[in-house]
Assembly symmetry: C2
Homo-oligomer: 248 residues x 2
Amino acid sequence: MDQDRSLPPVVERMWGREPASRRGPRPRLDLAMITAAAIELADADGIAGVSMAGVAARVGVAATALYRYIDSKEDLLTAMADAVAPLPPDPAGQPWRGYLAAWTRAQRDIMLEHPWVLTISPLVPPMGPRRLLWLDRLMAALDGTGLDDGERVNVASTLTGYALTDAAVAFAAGDPAYEKAGISGADDFGAALADVLDPEAYPHLSAAVRGGVFSGAVGWVDDEDFLFGLNLLLDGVEQLIARRGGVG
Amino acid sequence: MDQDRSLPPVVERMWGREPASRRGPRPRLDLAMITAAAIELADADGIAGVSMAGVAARVGVAATALYRYIDSKEDLLTAMADAVAPLPPDPAGQPWRGYLAAWTRAQRDIMLEHPWVLTISPLVPPMGPRRLLWLDRLMAALDGTGLDDGERVNVASTLTGYALTDAAVAFAAGDPAYEKAGISGADDFGAALADVLDPEAYPHLSAAVRGGVFSGAVGWVDDEDFLFGLNLLLDGVEQLIARRGGVG
DNA sequence: ACCTGAACACCGTTCAAGT
DNA sequence: ACCTGAACACCGTTCAAGT
């Protein structure tokens, strides 16, 4: 039962389970060193800056030596997505709603600081020690609300998804691809769109664009927008808690 | 004002604005043909199956000829993410809540059918004709609720994000990377996790895992889970509408 | 047992040359 | 003006050989 349902090798290593190597020279590296180097490269040059050769050079080793520690580059990206997360905020003594808000904001901030996470995260299930610590803390914060474990997990995944979406939208507004074309903010986004939208085919949207939906001072990136959607979710959670008879 | 705030070239082409070419031989291709070929490849072999050479071969042209129509592979992916969306459901005569639910589900279904969208979508702002048609229809469905344009856009982006998250989670449960390791469903996911979780460091989560959170009959992929989070959101929207004094 | 260096198959993109 | 073919710089990954 222990051997049958084993985790993927990278995940095992992310949890510190290095294979017990006995004979021969001692390893010069471990997964944490490699992951840290890769994260530094990604922070500096984006995901395109992460090549096996580049990571290897940074830890002072030949490119091919990395394959002693990971099976593939994909595995490396999986480990990066977990390791980039800092420790979650401490839920001790906090009311659930305040903690969930802080938790979600902190998770979004990770992605604003490390935009490359957006390019790997969504398809990777959170099985590493860091991401699961976040999950554990959120579950703790919901003690006393009457929500069961399954509901808590669902709340966590919904909030994680929201953080991801918000970060992606915020990032898109400043996307270099659009700056290249002379569009630098929400303001120009709307103006450019107006040129192309047929009012007959897109009646509501083109009216909204002419009305200036995308021309707000800060537009998409506005903190108000983050709170808007977040409170939508938290209101929903609050209703559920009320139904379960938990305390607010 | 028309020239200054121009859209990126790909986006212009997505809107059918092919450059007016006069002299010389007529083009053999257009962006739609190229995009359709790329989508077929991605559906068949995943995003890894989409190479410039492969797409070119499928439309019967040398690899380098594609650069007459797009500036880079990234542009091609942008066009694919828009073109893969079918027409949105028709909102005519539907109550807002029912339409939003159908809209969100349909959007998630796109990603379940074309999982490769998950690997490009989150960083690409929706500026193509298809994605913006979806936005227009959702805005139409909210007529009479009292929500303003900005709020409607925020609702749309939040629901889109939710659809994306749900699809990603559902997809992760069946991720080949985990099947490779002998983990085929939610059941094994939980068992594998139990081996590695330290109950002292992860008290709530390890209790939940022992309690079988991840061992439900269908687990993550359950339709119940999709509706759970969706209703959280729609309850939030409903509260907002009530505050605005709109009709349900 | 760990690491290296050479090698392989493949990739996106450029550019000059053809029509 | 469109398309081709050769070429370039780079990539992830393998494998035999060294210690």
